[in-house]
Amino acid sequence: MNPPHLVILIPLIFFAGALLIPLLERWRHGCAYGVAVASAAVGALVTVAGLVEVSSGGTLRYQVSGWAPPIGIELVLDPLSAFLSVMLASVALLVLVHSGSVVRRELPGKAMPLYSTALLLVGALLGITITGDLFNLYVFLEISSLASYALLALGDRKAPVSAFRYLILGTVGASFYLLGLGFVFMTTGSLNMADLKLILSNLESSPPLLVGLVLITTGVGLKMALFPMHGWLPDAYTYASSTATALIAPIGTKIAAYVLIRIFFFVLDPGFASGEIPLTTAIGYLGAAGILWGSILAIAQTDLKRMLAYSSVGQIGYIALGIGLASPMGFIGAILHMVNHAVMKGCLFLVSANFLSRLGHADIRRFNDSTRVHMPWTAAGFTMAALSMIGLPPFAGFFSKWYLILGSVEESNWVFVAVILISSLLSAVYFFRLIERIYLRSPGRDSKYPDEAGGAAAPDGGREEVSASMLAPTLILASALLVLGLLNVWIVNRLIQPMIPAGL
């Protein structure tokens, strides 16, 4: 296969799957799950092939329909895109594998629309990752948004309302992006990223350009749930089905952060966004505020999914902080944290889905050590992911925090250092509280819920761990945290270092 075609295949496989599912479902009921997993598996393999190709051969460029840029749309697979696409596709694959029983239980009869929109979402997010054209990015952004609104609406009774609220806010965000893009286009006359880089490096900064950049940042920030534009996130994640949340939480907001990284460090001169206008600095401080706000509020939650949602707001803050540092260390920290958090949050949301499926609830107040007795593997996976979120070695979470601390110290930004340290301790509070409950609290102790010892009645009365299709992805993600932690040096040196843009 001619290498460049690899690039277009990445999103195309997912789109093809998304379109095939309704058709095949007509022909043969119940095959949606299989088709979705198959598409995701093939897609993941292609992304890995892309990463291998890019690591050895350099950036791949693909011209859609043969039209040359800057007029034609160009898809670019450079080390950053390849790396993120692998992360995206693998986490999506694992979540989709996991989703079989979840969908059967939580959304009976809605398998077909769920899988179809899920594949659309992943395909669109991949499209954002590999596109080399800013307007094409808007198109993919909106495709992914549409898919995520639909996906989030498939849930319990409250889901359509939170999805609608997200729709309104998300459209505001995307429209701001478009508006900002308009200003940039009018100033420079081009939409192609590589072309813009050349044009902008020769251009003086001007009010329309600045306004455009601010609008773009605001728009993307809304999608990213950057503080204070995060309001849609907790409700949306809590009321949606477990699969939808597990798909959107780990990867949706990350890709929005990627857009910011792409624009600020690759399209613009890195010094521009931090020196001339303190845009990245603003992002950094907003990120810091988000970290604190998310961590503090997570402590107050009684529902596991809601706690994880607030935690996600905090974690996005770390990535924003890394962007805010605008230094190589900060960049490494941000990228590493994107991957780490995708895996960690994916694992945690899968765990909450497992709990929901076997215990019938995800209420923290009702967890006790019978949970661990009945579901030991899920509990183990939860513990590993929790330790990684707190940032304890040797798990992956420690290393991304280390790079961020190093980067903050380098820039003498003591506020950032303090925020990172305090938030690690705060996350220790809300995660250890859960770990303690699951491992140590005996059922009789909670007077409000005295007979939680049984959980859902199992026919054999014994262990009722979830099925292999749900357990395997959970444990794969959990052990991936250990592997990513131990291999983090290789990842940083071999994969991330080449992506650092010149001039950072």
Binding site: F398, W402, I405, V417, V489
Partner: protein
């Protein structure tokens, strides 16, 4: 300088008990097999560390670079004299503790033994990682792992009290851990390196005096939690709720000694004697250590619970080493470092005795121990040896470390410290010897029906007591502890 050679032995020494953990987890149903893994790992670990002793005495350092992150930052294990010194103590005493644990756990019919033994193995792995850490980052990583691995041990009993103690332990230790991490990043930024070097890496570096002082406080807070420096010490007495073998090894040897090990590393290998003296940092450290020694001994007097009394005694003796580091004189530093080994052997004996008493008679308080010496002569005999050593009575090894510390304080021109050590000795006698007195010289009908504790517990405690005596008579027997200690002190002060 010393020769550095590449070797995998440090890595094996650290990881062997991790491998054993797998074995332990798998053989949960077969206690004898499970215990076999612990003992096997302990023996192999000790053997591996011992094999490093000759090379270290010859001035050669075994190094094993695990990962290179970027120039100057990496994870590496380096078995230098100080590392081998600490590793010998920890791994050697683990063997005794394991035998003792088996006796304790079985006699007391404790639950969750698999979790206990597995956590122990991981904790020892982390301790050796701390000992052999070649730079600050590796040190911090293993330090945090140690906290994690010892948490299940602290909360072993799973009572409300145990959970509270565990939470406090975590809160203190994790906060210390993040402070250390921040400090490491700061040092890297200031000095350009985080490798441990005798004589420090901050010497000759351009930095504002306030920055250096602030950095020092960050580090002292970071290592001071585990080292029991007041006022960061309060987790330690509360952690006595854990089973006694845990208190013995972890809170008298591995965890707290990692803390003082860290203090000496920070003082001698990161900041260095010159920087310390230049900014008056050793004075600050001496004040903290002195206050700790004094107050802990006073508080120990008031404790009726035997284990809590021993806990406060530990806090005091840990600060002996910290004071030795603060003195920065050859004798003082040697004394402080040597005290790590002497105190470990003596304290572990005392804790073993306390555990034997508890398991056998279910008595925890000093006031209830009248006449127990008749029933358990070996146990109380060992307790006597250990106590005398802590007070500083020759020929038990505790005398020698104390002697050098006193010499060191005179050398430094701080006679107040000498007075403090003498006072502390008297206070030690005041809170330890009454136990001996009550045990042997008071009568009570309580213990008439009891005889000695099970051999699995008595043999280890007698052995460690005998070791204290033997090492006092022949300080360099087997392991050259004293030679190592003075060599390390020389190495630090030479540069």
């Amino acid at each position: 300088m010393s020769d550095v050679f590449q070797s995998n032995i440090p890595l094996w020494a650290v990881s062997i008990s991790l491998l054993a953990t797998l074995g332990i987890l798998v053989s949960g149903r077969k206690p004898n097999l499970r215990e076999f893994w612990t003992l096997l790992a302990g023996l192999i670990k000790f053997g591996l560390v011992l094999s490093l002793l000759p090379s270290v005495r010859a001035g050669k350092i075994a190094e094993c670079v695990l990962l290179q992150v970027s120039p100057g930052i990496g994870l590496s294990l380096r078995a230098d004299e100080f590392g081998v010194f600490f590793a010998l103590i920890a791994s050697g005493l683990w063997i005794f503790t394991s035998i003792y644990s088996i006796g304790y756990m079985r006699s007391n019919q404790e639950l969750k033994q698999t979790r206990y033994f597995a956590s122990f193995a991981v904790a020892l792995s982390a301790t050796l990682g701390v000992a052999f850490a070649g730079n600050l980052l590796t040190f911090v990583i293993f330090y945090e792992m140690l906290t994690l691995a010892t948490y299940p041990l602290v909360i072993h009993k799973e009572t409300g009290e145990a959970l509270r103690a565990g939470r406090q332990y975590l809160a203190y230790s994790l906060t210390a851990g993040v402070l250390l991490l921040a400090g490491t990043a700061w040092i890297y930024n200031t000095a350009g390196t985080i490798e441990f070097q005798p004589g420090g890496i901050l010497g000759g570096v351009e930095a504002a005096p306030n920055a250096i002082r602030c950095l020092f406080f960050v580090f002292v807070a970071g290592v001071g939690v585990k080292a029991g420096i007041m006022p960061l010490h309060s987790w330690l007495p509360n952690a006595m709720v854990a089973p006694t073998p845990v208190s013995a090894l972890l809170h008298a040897v591995a965890v707290v000694k990692s803390g003082v090990f860290g203090v000496v590393r920070v003082v001698g290998f990161v900041f260095g004697p010159e920087v310390m003296a230049e900014h008056g940092l050793n004075l600050i450290l001496a004040v903290l250590a002195g206050a700790t020694v004094l107050f802990s001994s006073l508080i120990a007097l008031q404790q009726d619970s035997l284990k809590r009394r021993l806990a406060y005694s530990t806090i005091g003796h840990l600060s002996y080493t910290v004071m030795g580091a603060a003195l920065l004189t050859p004798e003082g530093l040697t004394g402080g470092i040597y005290h790590i080994s002497t105190h470990a052997v003596m304290k572990i004996t005392l804790f073993f005795c306390a555990g034997a008493i508890y398991v056998h008679t279910h008595k925890q308080n000093v006031s209830e121990l009248d006449g127990i010496g008749r029933a358990m002569p070996w146990t109380i005999g060992a307790f006597t040896l250990g106590s005398l050593g802590l007070v500083g009575i020759p020929p038990i090894n505790g005398f020698f470390s104390k002697w050098f510390l006193c010499l060191g304080s005179l050398q430094a021109g701080w006679p107040m410290v000498l007075a403090l050590f003498i006072l502390s000795g008297l206070l030690n006698a005041a809170y330890l010897l009454p136990v001996v007195y009550r045990g042997f010289f008071r009568k009570s009908e309580e213990f008439e029906k009891f005889d000695e504790a099970p051999p699995l517990m008595v043999v280890p405690l007698c052995t460690t007591a005998a070791l204290a005596l033997v090492l006092g008579l022949f300080p360099n027997l087997f392991f050259d502890f004293f030679e190592l200690a003075s060599g390390i002190s020389e190495m630090i002060l030479a540069s």
